[in-house]
Amino acid sequence: MSKQNSWVVIPAFNDNGPLTKVIREIASLGYSVVVVDDGSQVPVITSVTTPGVHVLRHCVNLGQGAAIQTGFSFALSMGAAYLVTFDADGQHSANEIEALLEPLQSGVAEIALGTRFAEGGRALNISSLRLLVLRLATIVSRWTTGLCITDTHNGFRALTAKASRQIQITQNRMAHASQILDQISRFSIPYVEVPVTIRYTDYSRANGQKLSNGFNILWESFMERIQ
Protein backbone atom coordinates (compact mmCIF):
# COMPACT_ATOMS: atom_id res chain seq x y z
CA MET A 1 0.00 0.00 0.00
CA SER A 2 1.29 3.46 -0.90
CA LYS A 3 2.65 5.33 2.07
CA GLN A 4 2.00 8.71 0.47
CA ASN A 5 -1.63 8.64 1.52
CA SER A 6 -0.50 8.35 5.15
CA TRP A 7 0.09 11.84 6.46
CA VAL A 8 2.20 12.52 9.51
CA VAL A 9 1.12 15.70 11.30
CA ILE A 10 3.85 17.42 13.32
CA PRO A 11 2.88 20.43 15.42
CA ALA A 12 5.89 22.65 16.12
CA PHE A 13 6.49 25.79 18.13
CA ASN A 14 9.75 27.74 18.51
CA ASP A 15 11.70 24.64 17.59
CA ASN A 16 15.44 24.77 17.32
CA GLY A 17 16.02 21.10 17.97
CA PRO A 18 15.65 17.90 16.03
CA LEU A 19 12.68 18.90 13.84
CA THR A 20 14.61 18.87 10.56
CA LYS A 21 16.01 15.42 11.38
CA VAL A 22 12.54 14.19 12.36
CA ILE A 23 11.04 15.41 9.07
CA ARG A 24 13.86 13.87 7.04
CA GLU A 25 13.45 10.49 8.77
CA ILE A 26 9.71 10.37 8.19
CA ALA A 27 9.90 11.61 4.59
CA SER A 28 12.62 9.06 3.81
CA LEU A 29 10.17 6.31 4.76
CA GLY A 30 7.79 7.58 2.07
CA TYR A 31 5.11 9.18 4.24
CA SER A 32 3.62 12.59 3.50
CA VAL A 33 4.46 15.12 6.18
CA VAL A 34 2.64 18.24 7.29
CA VAL A 35 4.43 20.46 9.76
CA VAL A 36 2.22 23.04 11.46
CA ASP A 37 4.27 25.93 12.78
CA ASP A 38 2.12 27.25 15.57
CA GLY A 39 3.08 30.93 15.35
CA SER A 40 6.75 30.55 16.28
CA GLN A 41 8.63 33.82 16.73
CA VAL A 42 11.06 32.63 14.06
CA PRO A 43 9.49 30.26 11.48
CA VAL A 44 10.59 26.70 12.29
CA ILE A 45 11.11 25.91 8.61
CA THR A 46 12.01 28.63 6.15
CA SER A 47 12.05 26.61 2.95
CA VAL A 48 11.01 23.10 2.04
CA THR A 49 12.73 21.18 -0.68
CA THR A 50 11.83 17.63 0.32
CA PRO A 51 8.98 16.21 -1.80
CA GLY A 52 5.89 15.28 0.19
CA VAL A 53 6.64 17.72 2.99
CA HIS A 54 4.24 20.62 3.56
CA VAL A 55 4.64 23.43 6.04
CA LEU A 56 1.68 25.40 7.37
CA ARG A 57 2.06 28.40 9.60
CA HIS A 58 -0.38 29.85 12.12
CA CYS A 59 0.08 33.61 12.15
CA VAL A 60 -0.47 33.58 15.93
CA ASN A 61 0.21 30.95 18.55
CA LEU A 62 -2.93 28.92 19.26
CA GLY A 63 -1.67 25.76 20.91
CA GLN A 64 -0.78 22.18 20.06
CA GLY A 65 -4.40 21.01 19.77
CA ALA A 66 -5.21 23.73 17.25
CA ALA A 67 -2.06 22.92 15.27
CA ILE A 68 -2.99 19.24 15.07
CA GLN A 69 -6.53 20.06 13.91
CA THR A 70 -5.10 22.38 11.25
CA GLY A 71 -2.81 19.57 10.09
CA PHE A 72 -5.75 17.16 9.99
CA SER A 73 -7.91 19.59 7.98
CA PHE A 74 -5.12 20.23 5.49
CA ALA A 75 -4.17 16.55 5.11
CA LEU A 76 -7.80 15.55 4.60
CA SER A 77 -8.20 18.26 1.96
CA MET A 78 -5.19 16.74 0.19
CA GLY A 79 -6.78 13.29 0.17
CA ALA A 80 -5.12 11.64 3.17
CA ALA A 81 -6.35 8.15 4.00
CA TYR A 82 -4.50 7.85 7.32
CA LEU A 83 -3.21 10.47 9.72
CA VAL A 84 -0.50 10.13 12.33
CA THR A 85 0.28 12.65 15.07
CA PHE A 86 3.96 12.89 15.82
CA ASP A 87 5.95 15.12 18.19
CA ALA A 88 8.54 17.54 16.84
CA ASP A 89 10.99 17.04 19.69
CA GLY A 90 12.34 13.66 18.64
CA GLN A 91 10.55 11.63 21.34
CA HIS A 92 8.91 9.33 18.83
CA SER A 93 10.42 6.82 16.47
CA ALA A 94 9.55 7.09 12.77
CA ASN A 95 10.10 3.34 12.39
CA GLU A 96 7.08 2.69 14.61
CA ILE A 97 4.63 4.54 12.36
CA GLU A 98 4.10 1.37 10.36
CA ALA A 99 3.10 -0.56 13.48
CA LEU A 100 0.56 2.15 14.36
CA LEU A 101 -0.92 2.11 10.86
CA GLU A 102 -1.13 -1.67 10.59
CA PRO A 103 -4.40 -2.16 12.59
CA LEU A 104 -6.02 0.67 10.63
CA GLN A 105 -4.99 -0.72 7.26
CA SER A 106 -6.15 -4.19 8.19
CA GLY A 107 -9.52 -2.79 9.32
CA VAL A 108 -9.16 -3.85 12.96
CA ALA A 109 -9.65 -0.29 14.26
CA GLU A 110 -10.18 3.31 13.22
CA ILE A 111 -7.74 4.74 15.75
CA ALA A 112 -4.45 3.37 17.05
CA LEU A 113 -3.24 4.91 20.30
CA GLY A 114 0.43 4.64 21.08
CA THR A 115 1.14 3.33 24.57
CA ARG A 116 4.40 3.39 26.44
CA PHE A 117 3.07 1.38 29.38
CA ALA A 118 1.57 -1.75 27.79
CA GLU A 119 3.70 -4.82 27.22
CA GLY A 120 6.24 -4.04 24.50
CA GLY A 121 6.02 -0.27 25.03
CA ARG A 122 8.88 1.68 26.55
CA ALA A 123 9.42 5.08 28.15
CA LEU A 124 13.16 5.69 28.09
CA ASN A 125 14.71 8.15 30.57
CA ILE A 126 11.35 9.02 32.06
CA SER A 127 11.50 10.69 35.47
CA SER A 128 9.77 9.05 38.43
CA LEU A 129 7.56 12.09 38.94
CA ARG A 130 6.40 12.14 35.31
CA LEU A 131 5.75 8.40 35.49
CA LEU A 132 3.62 8.87 38.59
CA VAL A 133 1.66 11.76 37.08
CA LEU A 134 1.04 9.81 33.87
CA ARG A 135 -0.13 6.77 35.82
CA LEU A 136 -2.58 8.91 37.77
CA ALA A 137 -3.70 10.71 34.60
CA THR A 138 -4.34 7.34 32.95
CA ILE A 139 -6.53 6.27 35.87
CA VAL A 140 -8.49 9.55 35.57
CA SER A 141 -8.83 9.10 31.78
CA ARG A 142 -10.08 5.52 32.20
CA TRP A 143 -12.59 6.73 34.76
CA THR A 144 -13.86 9.72 32.76
CA THR A 145 -13.99 8.05 29.33
CA GLY A 146 -14.63 4.42 30.17
CA LEU A 147 -11.91 3.43 27.71
CA CYS A 148 -9.68 0.51 28.58
CA ILE A 149 -6.35 2.26 28.09
CA THR A 150 -2.90 1.88 29.61
CA ASP A 151 -1.53 5.30 28.65
CA THR A 152 -2.84 8.82 28.20
CA HIS A 153 -1.52 12.03 26.69
CA ASN A 154 0.71 10.04 24.39
CA GLY A 155 1.08 12.21 21.28
CA PHE A 156 1.91 9.26 19.02
CA ARG A 157 -1.34 8.02 17.50
CA ALA A 158 -2.85 7.19 14.12
CA LEU A 159 -6.35 7.69 12.73
CA THR A 160 -8.19 6.78 9.58
CA ALA A 161 -9.61 9.64 7.51
CA LYS A 162 -13.09 8.60 8.65
CA ALA A 163 -12.13 8.81 12.34
CA SER A 164 -10.34 12.11 11.93
CA ARG A 165 -13.46 13.60 10.36
CA GLN A 166 -15.46 12.46 13.38
CA ILE A 167 -12.95 13.81 15.87
CA GLN A 168 -13.08 17.58 16.08
CA ILE A 169 -10.37 19.07 18.25
CA THR A 170 -11.65 22.29 19.79
CA GLN A 171 -9.33 22.26 22.78
CA ASN A 172 -6.57 24.42 21.36
CA ARG A 173 -3.99 23.62 23.99
CA MET A 174 -2.85 20.48 25.74
CA ALA A 175 -6.30 19.23 26.79
CA HIS A 176 -6.82 18.07 23.18
CA ALA A 177 -5.40 14.66 24.12
CA SER A 178 -8.17 14.16 26.69
CA GLN A 179 -10.70 15.51 24.19
CA ILE A 180 -9.67 12.91 21.60
CA LEU A 181 -10.21 10.13 24.15
CA ASP A 182 -13.58 11.65 25.12
CA GLN A 183 -14.69 11.67 21.49
CA ILE A 184 -13.48 8.11 20.88
CA SER A 185 -15.70 7.11 23.77
CA ARG A 186 -18.66 9.31 22.78
CA PHE A 187 -18.71 8.22 19.13
CA SER A 188 -17.77 4.60 19.97
CA ILE A 189 -14.89 4.70 17.49
CA PRO A 190 -13.08 1.34 17.35
CA TYR A 191 -9.58 1.75 18.77
CA VAL A 192 -6.56 -0.32 19.68
CA GLU A 193 -3.47 0.42 21.67
CA VAL A 194 -0.11 -0.17 20.04
CA PRO A 195 3.08 -0.37 22.12
CA VAL A 196 5.54 2.39 21.22
CA THR A 197 8.82 3.74 22.52
CA ILE A 198 8.96 7.27 23.90
CA ARG A 199 12.49 8.56 24.25
CA TYR A 200 12.84 11.45 26.71
CA THR A 201 15.83 13.66 26.06
CA ASP A 202 17.11 16.85 27.69
CA TYR A 203 15.62 18.76 24.77
CA SER A 204 12.20 17.11 24.95
CA ARG A 205 12.08 17.58 28.73
CA ALA A 206 12.93 21.27 28.37
CA ASN A 207 10.51 21.93 25.51
CA GLY A 208 7.79 19.34 26.02
CA GLN A 209 4.73 19.38 28.16
CA LYS A 210 5.34 20.58 31.71
CA LEU A 211 3.95 18.52 34.54
CA SER A 212 2.34 21.64 35.98
CA ASN A 213 0.18 21.71 32.83
CA GLY A 214 -1.74 18.82 34.34
CA PHE A 215 -3.84 21.27 36.36
CA ASN A 216 -4.59 23.35 33.25
CA ILE A 217 -5.58 20.21 31.37
CA LEU A 218 -7.91 19.12 34.17
CA TRP A 219 -9.46 22.60 34.29
CA GLU A 220 -9.95 22.83 30.50
CA SER A 221 -11.42 19.32 30.37
CA PHE A 222 -13.79 20.15 33.23
CA MET A 223 -14.96 23.40 31.60
CA GLU A 224 -15.56 21.60 28.32
CA ARG A 225 -17.75 19.05 30.06
CA ILE A 226 -19.94 21.64 31.75
CA GLN A 227 -20.39 23.81 28.65
Partner: protein, 118 residues
Protein backbone atom coordinates in the same frame (compact mmCIF):
# COMPACT_ATOMS: atom_id res chain seq x y z
CA UNK B 1 -27.14 62.66 52.60
CA UNK B 2 -23.92 60.85 53.65
CA UNK B 3 -20.92 61.49 51.37
CA UNK B 4 -20.66 57.83 50.39
CA UNK B 5 -24.06 57.88 48.66
CA UNK B 6 -23.29 60.47 45.93
CA UNK B 7 -19.85 58.89 45.46
CA UNK B 8 -21.36 55.46 44.86
CA UNK B 9 -24.17 56.76 42.69
CA UNK B 10 -21.65 58.77 40.63
CA UNK B 11 -19.55 55.62 40.17
CA UNK B 12 -22.62 53.61 39.10
CA UNK B 13 -23.63 56.30 36.60
CA UNK B 14 -20.14 56.44 35.06
CA UNK B 15 -19.95 52.64 34.86
CA UNK B 16 -23.48 52.26 33.46
CA UNK B 17 -23.30 54.98 30.80
CA UNK B 18 -19.72 53.97 29.99
CA UNK B 19 -20.99 50.43 29.36
CA UNK B 20 -23.85 51.64 27.15
CA UNK B 21 -21.60 54.04 25.24
CA UNK B 22 -18.47 52.01 24.68
CA UNK B 23 -19.37 48.30 24.90
CA UNK B 24 -21.10 46.67 21.98
CA UNK B 25 -23.68 44.38 23.50
CA UNK B 26 -27.00 42.71 22.84
CA UNK B 27 -30.33 44.13 24.02
CA UNK B 28 -30.53 41.35 26.62
CA UNK B 29 -27.19 42.42 28.14
CA UNK B 30 -28.22 46.09 28.12
CA UNK B 31 -31.44 45.25 29.95
CA UNK B 32 -29.49 43.21 32.51
CA UNK B 33 -27.09 46.14 33.02
CA UNK B 34 -30.00 48.57 33.42
CA UNK B 35 -31.63 46.28 35.98
CA UNK B 36 -28.35 45.97 37.90
CA UNK B 37 -27.87 49.76 37.79
CA UNK B 38 -31.36 50.47 39.15
CA UNK B 39 -31.02 47.83 41.90
CA UNK B 40 -27.62 49.21 42.92
CA UNK B 41 -28.90 52.80 43.04
CA UNK B 42 -31.95 51.68 45.02
CA UNK B 43 -29.79 49.81 47.54
CA UNK B 44 -27.60 52.88 48.05
CA UNK B 45 -30.36 55.52 48.20
CA UNK B 46 -32.79 53.47 50.34
CA UNK B 47 -30.47 51.31 52.48
CA UNK B 48 -33.20 49.89 54.72
CA UNK B 49 -34.87 48.29 51.71
CA UNK B 50 -32.20 45.55 51.61
CA UNK B 51 -32.89 44.85 55.30
CA UNK B 52 -36.61 44.52 54.57
CA UNK B 53 -35.97 42.11 51.70
CA UNK B 54 -33.48 40.20 53.88
CA UNK B 55 -36.10 39.86 56.62
CA UNK B 56 -38.64 38.75 54.02
CA UNK B 57 -36.43 35.98 52.54
CA UNK B 58 -35.00 35.04 55.94
CA UNK B 59 -31.34 35.94 55.44
CA UNK B 60 -31.07 37.98 58.62
CA UNK B 61 -28.96 40.98 57.66
CA UNK B 62 -29.28 43.24 54.61
CA UNK B 63 -25.49 43.28 54.29
CA UNK B 64 -25.43 39.49 54.00
CA UNK B 65 -28.15 39.57 51.34
CA UNK B 66 -26.21 42.16 49.35
CA UNK B 67 -23.06 40.05 49.65
CA UNK B 68 -24.84 36.89 48.47
CA UNK B 69 -26.37 38.70 45.51
CA UNK B 70 -23.01 40.22 44.66
CA UNK B 71 -21.35 36.77 44.76
CA UNK B 72 -24.08 35.31 42.53
CA UNK B 73 -23.76 38.22 40.08
CA UNK B 74 -19.97 37.81 40.02
CA UNK B 75 -20.23 34.11 39.17
CA UNK B 76 -22.84 34.83 36.50
CA UNK B 77 -20.65 37.48 34.84
CA UNK B 78 -17.52 35.31 35.12
CA UNK B 79 -19.32 32.49 33.25
CA UNK B 80 -20.66 35.00 30.72
CA UNK B 81 -17.19 36.43 30.05
CA UNK B 82 -15.66 32.94 29.86
CA UNK B 83 -18.27 31.86 27.35
CA UNK B 84 -17.78 34.99 25.21
CA UNK B 85 -14.02 34.55 25.34
CA UNK B 86 -14.42 30.96 24.16
CA UNK B 87 -16.56 32.05 21.23
CA UNK B 88 -13.93 34.60 20.23
CA UNK B 89 -11.20 31.97 20.55
CA UNK B 90 -13.13 29.61 18.25
CA UNK B 91 -13.56 32.39 15.69
CA UNK B 92 -9.88 33.40 15.80
CA UNK B 93 -8.83 29.75 15.54
CA UNK B 94 -11.02 29.20 12.49
CA UNK B 95 -9.62 32.28 10.74
CA UNK B 96 -5.97 31.49 11.56
CA UNK B 97 -6.49 27.88 10.43
CA UNK B 98 -8.10 28.87 7.15
CA UNK B 99 -5.32 31.35 6.37
CA UNK B 100 -2.66 28.69 7.06
CA UNK B 101 -4.44 26.12 4.88
CA UNK B 102 -5.07 28.56 2.02
CA UNK B 103 -1.40 29.58 1.97
CA UNK B 104 -0.25 25.96 1.96
CA UNK B 105 -2.71 24.95 -0.78
CA UNK B 106 -1.55 27.89 -2.91
CA UNK B 107 2.10 26.92 -2.36
CA UNK B 108 1.38 23.28 -3.26
CA UNK B 109 -0.45 24.36 -6.44
CA UNK B 110 2.44 26.66 -7.42
CA UNK B 111 4.95 23.86 -6.86
CA UNK B 112 2.87 21.51 -8.99
CA UNK B 113 2.65 24.05 -11.81
CA UNK B 114 6.40 24.61 -11.62
CA UNK B 115 7.04 20.86 -11.83
CA UNK B 116 4.73 20.53 -14.85
CA UNK B 117 6.38 23.39 -16.70
CA UNK B 118 9.96 22.20 -16.05
Amino acid sequence: MPLIQPLLIGGFIIAFFGYLRFMRSQLRDRLAATFLFLISCGAVLVPHITQRIADFVGVGRGTDLTFYLFAAAFIFFAVLVYSKLNRHTFAVTAVVRQIAINEAVARAAACEMENHSS
